[in-house]
């Protein structure tokens, strides 16, 4: 039973979290019409065009709140405490605040401000070749100032259209500079220089600054100037503590190292167990920086234990007090955890294969994947396909592995019984596709053609003799109505197809029937087609079962494979679509069609769900389109219009109100698409 103190502490914690969230909510409810998330892609395109290579734009994280101790005993003066995120760069990436606003009176709209800040930071990032920066704060700030001035100078020279924006930004920043009163002597010198820069035109470099062609020149100047300022102000024996950074100056982040998260190895009994409940999720207001692990941080050998000798032992289940309250509590609010985590300035990154309890979503997600996935479930070799991560607008470092599984063989009698039970349905499907057989057609009475149309000419001659108006359609040509089409059917057999749609039929049963009937009808058309089923679990095991290759022609075999289909695991649709796209791309047909039969949104055990899954699927469909493949989706998910219109485009998907009609609808869709 919980102690009264624990109850009070718990209640106080919840109350504080609630109030602080309420406060944040009211304060952050400013105009969100033009945030970074709205214009990020536009800015990335813009920077790509300017620099000739990709410059990712990320969300700048707000500074960690200073702890009470650092406020009390720290030597950081009030005016130097950062309160809002600042633009920054780490040599490769540009970080911008989620929202920026200078107010209307400065004549710089939010979008133009974003554009300017992105360009400034990208240009500064391009100049960052120096790995070691001066350790001295004064020299570092001076170096930073010199680089900022040079970059503005370059921008003013090469982007004449930005000159006014640069001036407006400098003016706005000048108004917000701190008073000189709380500053000490060296800080005052730097502040005066800062203000002199902001007052000057961007194409002018105010003395004592000089045009530094290379960053090394800036560094030399900064070290030299730093020494001068120190000597000038030596009498006051005051230490330089820093200058106030604003949107114009921004920050210089350390160049990232390409380190992978430390793997946390579990013993066999710790291997992932299915969670009874889905993971709780909350928004992370600020993501801590990733910290490198120190050499002697995690000692293997255990040190001394401190044993509480008081009687009686109050916490029997955790004598050393090593667990956080939230670890024990399965119902702990994920929002509290997010708040606690966001207060840490930095944290170590660990990957684990344990089941996820809480998902804390930050504006700026990590590059690395933190979920370890156990290999070896799929016995066959895999084919790797990239996966799109919409949060960072690029492909994920780790790809999804498609494994081709040997299809199982089902009962021969199943196909016979279906055909015997549903002759009318087979008839309907066949009639719909029958009219599509290729044939050579002679086009008569054409205005132009390879041969003369003698009948047309005789008629025209007779009409002319009779005084009727002349005819000019006197030719004919013959064309084979060869459609030159290849079709791929991709069937989702994830666990959700186990759902019952009537007394005796599950979704998978309807899918199987539809496949069988359409398969029989398609074989009569002589167009190359293939049928694949897909499912899987995790990015490492996307399973594809080839039910019919483009070349295969054994009717009984294909029927038995269809008969053996049973609901499997999850739906990682992106990788499956990419594999089928690669198969279709190798087929030399003029019109290539990819039809996906699905029963819901893509999802998988890991983060592949919700918007992530939909965006990856959208990217896979876009890739297919680029290779001149026409994707189409048929689904029984009634919510599909919300997301399928974005994935496949309007009129490129069909939602079945009654799943039983799938065979006929599939035949109709094929007929419509093939005819087109």
């Amino acid at each position: 039973m919980a102690e009264p103190e624990e109850l009070i502490i718990d209640a106080a914690r919840h109350a504080t979290a609630f109030v602080s969230r309420l406060w944040d909510h009211d304060n952050n409810a400013s105009d969100s019409s033009c945030t970074l998330s709205v214009c990020r892609q536009r800015l990335e395109f813009f920077l790509t065009a300017v620099h000739g290579h990709e410059v990712p734009v990320r969300v700048a994280q707000p500074p960690p709140p200073p702890s009470a101790l650092s406020r009390l005993f720290g030597r950081i003066p009030q005016h130097l405490i950062e309160t809002c995120p600042l633009p920054a760069n780490d040599g490769a990436r540009v970080f911008l605040p989620m929202q920026v606003d200078l107010g209307e009176k400065n004549g710089l709209s939010t979008l133009r401000l974003f554009r300017l800040l992105a360009l400034q930071q990208a240009q500064r990032a391009q100049r960052r070749q120096i790995q070691t920066l001066p350790a001295d704060t004064l020299a570092l700030d001076l170096f930073h100032l010199s680089e900022a001035v040079v970059v503005d100078h370059v921008l003013a020279l090469h982007f004449a259209g930005l000159r006014h924006d640069l001036i407006a930004l400098r003016r706005a920043m000048l108004q917000a500079r701190p008073q000189l009163t709380p500053l000490n002597e060296p800080e005052r010198v730097v502040e005066e220089l800062y203000c002199r820069i902001l007052k000057a035109c961007p194409d002018v470099i105010p003395p004592p600054l000089a045009l530094a062609l290379k960053p090394e020149d800036s560094l030399d100047w900064a070290v030299e100037m730093g020494k001068k300022i120190t000597i000038q102000t030596e009498t006051t024996s005051m230490r330089y503590r820093g200058c106030v950074k604003d949107l114009w100056l921004g920050k210089m982040l350390p160049i990232p190292t390409d380190s992978q998260p430390d793997r946390y190895h579990e013993s066999v009994r710790d291997l992932p167990e299915p969670l009874a409940k889905p993971p709780r999720s909350a928004k992370l207001p600020r993501r801590p920086e990733v910290r490198e692990r120190k050499q002697d941080e995690d000692d293997e050998a255990q040190g001394m234990w401190m044993v509480q000798k008081d009687d009686p032992q109050q916490h029997v289940e955790d004598p050393a007090g090593l667990q956080r309250p939230a670890d024990r509590d399965d119902d702990a609010d994920a929002g509290d955890l997010a708040d606690s985590l966001s207060e840490l300035p930095e944290a170590q990154l660990i990957s684990s294969s344990k089941a996820v309890r809480e998902l804390l979503l930050a504006d700026d997600p990590l590059d690395q994947r933190t979920t370890q996935v156990h290999r070896g479930k799929g016995g066959t070799h895999g084919i790797a396909y990239p996966e799109w991560d919409f949060r960072v607008s690029r492909y994920h470092k780790e790809s999804a592995i498609v494994r081709l599984q040997p299809p199982l063989l089902g009962d021969v009698a199943w196909a016979e019984s279906v055909l015997a039970q549903r002759p009318a349905l087979l008839n309907q499907v066949q009639r719909r596709l029958e009219g599509l057989r290729p044939k050579r057609v002679r086009h008569h009475r054409q205005p132009d053609g390879d041969d003369l149309d003698i009948n047309a000419y005789v008629n025209a001659f007779a009409e002319r003799q009779a005084g009727l108006p002349p005819q000019d359609r006197l030719y004919q040509f013959t064309r084979a109505v060869r459609r030159d089409i290849a079709v791929a059917l991709l069937i989702d057999i994830s666990g959700s197809t186990d759902g019952w749609i009537s007394q005796e039929l599950r979704i998978i049963d309807v899918e199987k029937e539809a496949l069988l009937l359409v398969y029989l009808a398609l074989t009569k058309l002589d167009d190359p087609f293939c049928i694949y089923a897909f499912s899987g679990e995790s990015a490492q095991n996307v399973s594809l079962w080839p039910l019919k290759n483009f070349e295969e022609n054994d009717r009984t075999l294909v029927q038995r494979r269809i008969a053996a289909l049973e609901p499997q695991l999850y739906t990682r649709a992106g990788a499956a679509i990419r594999h089928i796209t690669s198969l279709l791309a190798a087929i030399n047909s003029r019109y290539r069609l990819l039809i996906l039969l699905s029963d819901g949104k893509p999802n998988d055990v890991d983060h592949y769900e919700g918007r992530y899954g939909v965006e990856d699927m959208r990217q896979a469909v876009a890739e297919a389109r680029l290779q001149a493949i026409h994707p189409f989706c048929i689904t029984v998910d009634r919510h599909a219009p919300h997301y399928l219109a974005r994935v496949f485009g309007a009129r490129h998907y069909a939602v079945l109100r009654q799943a039983e009609t799938l065979p006929v609808v599939l035949a109709d869709v094929l007929r419509r698409l093939i005819r087109r």
Partner: protein, 281 residues
């Protein structure tokens, strides 16, 4: 019918009027050895294939070479439905009788002209195969319907062109066709040359031409980010002409350079940002 017949007569007459281009030299700024190579190919009866992006000057180069070599030029823009009959010719009806009408290729073969098949991969396969006997040592054009075997007149040269980046995935030249040509690769000229070309073609100011070329170079960096076609020299010339005639530079770039390239809102917005950052009105 009368109209049709008049039209036929006119078109028939036009083949006799195939004559070498006279007048002013079509402006072309050579970027490498293409002029000398083309001249040698012409002298040695070799067919030429021009590869390059849209609007980089392939057609202008052929016009220039025809003028330089003093040969008539026949240009055929190939399309999906272009058949062999469209190239070789067909029977037409006139005065209650059938008359053979030469197609553009046959006309060029008879008169010894340069025949330029633009975007040849777009044409149907049967149309492309017709040119095979013309491009090897035989230099003949067999016409099935009349039973004629026309030997190419001296000076006849076949030139084809296509855009490797733009074509349909399923459309490509057959290897047996490719091997019959000397291939000249074209690309957008280097910035200084492109400025010269814009100055000559549009009478814009030099500073503006420089800005336009810088802008185009930056937009070309978006080629692999979803921009199907990058701004060509032709597009720059069109923009420069608008600006030279008094349209505000930013507006001219928006309408003549940015909008024609893409419909993707994010791409168009980024390109407009670039225009606004680079140019001042």
């Amino acid at each position: 019918m009368e109209d049709l017949l008049t039209e036929l007569r006119n078109s028939e007459n036009s083949h006799q009027s195939l004559h070498p281009p006279g007048g002013e030299e079509p402006y072309y700024l050579p970027l490498g050895d293409e002029v000398s190579i083309f001249t040698q190919c012409h002298l040695r009866n070799l067919a030429v294939m021009l590869k390059g992006p849209t609007g980089c000057g392939k057609t202008r180069f052929v016009e220039h070479m025809a003028w330089r070599l003093k040969r008539p030029l026949v240009i055929v823009s190939c399309h999906d439905d272009l058949t062999a009959a469209d190239l070789v010719g067909r029977f037409l009806i006139r005065d209650n009788a059938t008359v053979w009408q030469d197609g553009p290729l046959t006309r060029a073969v008879r008169t010894g002209a340069i025949c330029y098949l633009d975007e040849v991969v777009e044409a149907r396969q049967d149309a492309v195969v017709v040119i095979h006997p013309l491009t090897d040592y035989r230099r003949v054009l067999p016409i099935d319907k009349t039973g004629e075997l026309i030997e190419a007149a001296p000076g006849f040269q076949l030139v084809i062109s296509y855009n490797p980046g733009y074509q349909h995935v399923t459309k490509d030249l057959k290897p047996s066709t490719r091997q019959r040509f000397v291939a000249l690769d074209f690309d957008f000229p280097p910035p200084e040359r492109e400025v010269e070309i814009i100055l000559h073609e549009s009478s814009a100011e030099r500073g503006m031409a420089h800005d336009l070329v810088a802008l185009a170079c930056r937009i070309r960096g978006l080629a692999d980010r979803g921009l199907a076609e990058v701004p060509s020299t032709r597009l720059l010339v069109a923009t420069a002409r608008l600006i030279a005639n008094g349209i505000a530079p930013r507006l001219a770039c928006h309408v003549a350079l940015v909008s024609p390239l893409s419909d993707d809102p994010a791409l168009v917005a980024a390109m407009r940002d670039l225009v606004d950052a680079t140019l001042v009105d």
